[in-house]
């Protein structure tokens, strides 16, 4: 019963955070400079009446609180509004693109985590300082490379450009993991276990990782948020028609209906990922 109560509480909290986040996103977009403008305002072929009509297109969005409430009402009936810049229903745009983004984010996260875990495990098992330094330098190199340059390099090598996401996520995951593992490895009970002859693999799998599972799960949650945020510039750079590219183009066009929808999606994913991580960490807590 307490599990269901916990779940219910977390769900309510998540919904509140998502709704508040959606409103804050709408406020940020509404009051950002350039809201309500359109490239067509620089088109000398258009008449004065047409220019005025273009300016009036966003008049309904200027009262942001009432617009947001109305938007939520439409959403409850299954509509997400129409995109001004793409002239299509937002729901259609998201349906067309979310599969692509989910796939590339999932792939990139899987690769980043697998490589990070493998390198951390290898460093732990071999106790090789050169290996550790090489990994540090490699992740440092990836941190220093602009995502655009990585994407271009990948395309030059005939690899998918979206794997630049791996270059964004991997160094952070690896850095945290290796420091967490290193710090835990210096704890007295680990040193004692090693002195008693327990193998490095067993130490890592049965003693170190369980001790830092909460941090690993937290890292898993934030790496999803990292990957989703990084997907925006990577998709925009590589011309991948996912939600990230949609978000970038809509941000440049100040397309409020799209931005609210995308923000809610990202906030929902982030909140659910982090809440899920916390839940798992709590459920696996060993009795005192």
């Amino acid at each position: 019963m307490s599990l269901w109560r916990t779940l219910a509480k977390r769900l309510i909290m998540a919904v509140i955070v998502i709704l508040v986040g959606g409103f804050l996103s709408a406020v940020l977009v509404r009051y950002a400079p350039g809201f309500g403008t359109d490239e067509r305002q620089l088109d000398a072929r258009l008449s004065a009446e047409s220019h005025q009509a273009i300016r009036d297109e966003s008049s309904a969005e200027r009262g942001i609180a009432s617009y947001y409430v109305e938007w939520l009402r439409k959403m409850s009936r299954g509509g997400l509004g129409d995109s001004r810049s793409m002239q299509k229903p937002v729901a259609q745009l998201l349906m067309e693109r979310s599969g692509i983004t989910l796939r590339i984010v999932a792939e990139s996260l899987a690769i980043a985590w697998m490589v990070a875990l493998f390198l951390v495990a290898a460093t732990w098992s071999t106790h090789s300082a050169p290996l550790e330094k090489t990994c540090t330098t490699a992740s440092g190199l990836l941190l220093c490379l602009p995502a655009g340059a990585v994407a271009l390099l990948l395309i030059l090598l005939n690899a998918p450009g979206y794997l630049a996401l791996v270059a964004v996520v991997f160094p952070k995951v690896h850095r945290y993991l290796s420091d967490l593992v290193g710090a835990t490895g210096r704890m007295s009970h680990i040193l004692a276990a090693r002195a008693k002859g327990i193998s490095e693999h067993r130490l890592l799998l049965w003693h170190v990782i369980p001790a830092i599972r909460r941090e690993i799960l937290a890292l898993g949650g934030v790496s999803i948020a990292l990957a989703l945020n990084a997907a925006i510039p990577v998709e925009a750079l590589c011309g991948i028609p996912g939600v990230g590219q949609l978000a970038w183009q809509s941000a440049l066009a100040r397309d409020l209906p799209v931005l609210i929808s995308v923000s809610l999606l990202v906030i929902a994913f982030t909140v659910l990922a982090n809440s899920g991580a916390d839940l798992l960490a709590d459920e696996r807590r060993q009795p005192a």
Partner: protein
């Protein structure tokens, strides 16, 4: 098994037979087209689709810059410039088989002239208040009457893709060489040849030669360049000079420089009364001597050499020399003379103090130039202008902004000091730039929406633009607009910097591509573009 042998052999033969592969031209659009409705086209990518699929009554030949008959075999404009009568081509059908006739022209113009449409194509026809009337004289003859004379009326029909009044496919039924077969949002638009296209070549072969055009959607120019160098796409329009030079070194047969384009880069100072800038700065910007001094201090030859690799020419005025008819050949060349610039500034009371220029009131001359971020050429140009003006003691701050922020500052809030932008996709006829030159207009960038002209030269420009808009003969229009260009070169409300060349990438596998200055620079003659015989042989 024996029963399957023959069909299998036939299948293999079919697959192996040369010439069975589709002649598909591939190049990139830089974003999703916003609409397939030709009446609503306002962005370059939708315009590409319209050009490739739309049938027009008359077509402006981008090479000769002369009008040619298309769906109209003949036309006549009345003496008062208000009525145009078209004789339509007979036996033409839309891509879905629906017959074409005068009712389709009437329908198209009715849609276009709907005041709620707000399209650049429709607005170009609006010369006065009132409705347009269309009289169908015969099934293949129609007369259109406008409420007021429209300058360059017949040329405007180059932008009007005729829509079917009766087809169930509505705007997707087209009269052009291709039709939209498939659209995958964010990925590509696939065009297939129109089986009912009316045109044939001199040998009687049905046009277009190509079977299909695939327009993939890719905003990244670096990736476009990579794919082109790997022969995955066949054309690049409006290439950056950097890419052009690199490709020219490795594959010179893939790039073409078609000479000056119609595009230009320019900067201007904010002279609006509502401008939220210091009054002493407004005084500088309103001074002809100040503007002239700034123009004289900018080394345009260096801009052409360094930023465009020599693939640009110094601009002289609002019209590029590529515009053969409307360019005023008497305009003086832009000069680079920093000593003369300082002399002009001294006349206005400016002086140099420890290498810094100060005005009469002791204010150091410092201002900002805003431009849009992400355009490498423009960012380099503004950096060079900053260095040039530093040499005469002016301190310039460069601020790159995203486009909506830029638009808000220059069109709504007027909180900027100087701006630098470019003119692209420029129409040949100056009447399309009417809104830039009329002082009462929104688009009169340096000082928009004036209730009455702030200066005598702006009043004169207003008068001359109205003369050219109402005159029916081109000579009168040319005289008037030549004078406008002279005034602009003298008063410099816009400081024109360069006219960049039309740099394009064309695959050597293609024939019939003749790059020109006017857009679309490479595929303007899409019906006659084909793959070469060598490419067909290489496919075996």
């Amino acid at each position: 098994m024996r029963r399957l042998m023959l069909p299998l052999c036939l299948l293999l033969l079919a697959l192996a037979t040369p010439g069975m592969c589709l002649d598909e031209l591939r190049f990139y659009l830089h974003s999703d087209p916003k609409t397939f409705n030709p009446a609503l086209v306002a962005d370059p990518d939708s315009e590409t689709i319209r050009y490739l699929t739309g049938g027009v009554l008359v077509r402006l030949n981008r090479q000769t810059q002369q009008l040619e008959p298309e769906l109209a075999t003949a036309w006549k404009v009345s003496k008062d410039g208000k009525t145009i009568t078209f004789q339509l081509r007979q036996g033409v059908r839309f891509s879905d088989g629906t017959p074409f006739g005068a009712q389709d022209v009437q329908f198209t113009m009715t849609v276009l002239m709907d005041p709620m449409l707000h399209s650049p194509t429709g607005d170009a026809f609006r010369s006065g208040q009132g409705k347009i009337s269309a009289a169908i004289l015969t099934p293949d003859r129609i007369s259109l009457t406008f409420p007021a004379p429209v300058a360059g009326l017949e040329k405007l029909f180059d932008q009007v893709a005729i829509m079917s009044a009766g087809s169930p496919k509505k705007e997707m039924a087209v009269l052009g060489p291709f039709y939209v077969a498939e659209y995958k949002p964010g990925a590509y638009v696939a065009l297939h040849r129109n089986p009912n296209y009316w045109k044939h070549d001199d040998a009687g072969r049905a046009l277009p030669y190509l079977d299909a055009v695939k327009l993939e959607i890719q905003s990244n120019r670096d990736i476009e360049m990579l794919k082109f160098s790997r022969n995955e796409i066949h054309l690049i329009n409006a290439m950056d000079a950097d890419y052009f030079d690199r490709l020219a070194r490795s594959a010179p047969d893939k790039v073409r420089d078609a000479g000056p384009s119609l595009d230009s880069e320019m900067m201007w100072f904010n002279q609006a009364s509502e401008a939220s800038i210091a009054s002493y700065k407004l005084e500088w910007f309103r001074s002809r001597n100040f503007r002239q001094a700034v123009s004289l201090s900018i080394n345009r030859d260096d801009l052409c050499k360094v930023v465009y690799g020599g693939h640009a020419i110094p601009a002289r005025g609002p019209v590029s020399p590529a515009n053969k008819y409307w360019f005023n050949t008497q305009l003086p060349q832009a000069r680079f003379d920093q000593e003369d610039a300082l002399r002009l500034l001294q006349e206005d009371g400016f002086r140099l103090v420890d290498g810094r220029l100060v005005d009469r009131g002791g204010h150091p001359v410092q201002f900002s130039i805003i431009t849009n971020a992400g355009n490498r050429s423009r960012e380099r140009m503004v950096s060079m202008i900053q260095a040039d003006l530093r040499a005469i003691g002016m301190q310039v701050n460069v601020v790159t902004l995203d486009f909506p922020s830029l638009i808000q500052r220059i069109s709504e809030a007027f909180n900027y000091e100087a701006a630098m932008l470019g003119l692209t996709n420029v129409e040949l006829d100056p009447n399309e730039q009417m809104n830039v030159w009329l002082s009462s207009s929104d688009q009169h960038q340096w000082n928009p929406r004036q209730s009455s002209p702030a200066t005598s030269w702006e009043a004169e420009i207003d008068r001359l633009m109205r003369v050219q808009a109402s005159a029916m003969d081109d000579k009168t229009r040319k005289r008037a607009f030549d004078r406008v260009q002279e005034i602009v070169a003298d008063e410099l409300p816009f400081i024109y910097l360069v006219n960049q060349n039309a740099l394009v990438g064309v695959s050597p596998a293609l024939q019939g591509v003749v790059p020109v200055a006017a857009r679309p620079q490479t595929y303007w003659d899409i019906e006659h573009i084909r793959f070469s015989v060598e490419r067909a042989n290489n496919a075996n």
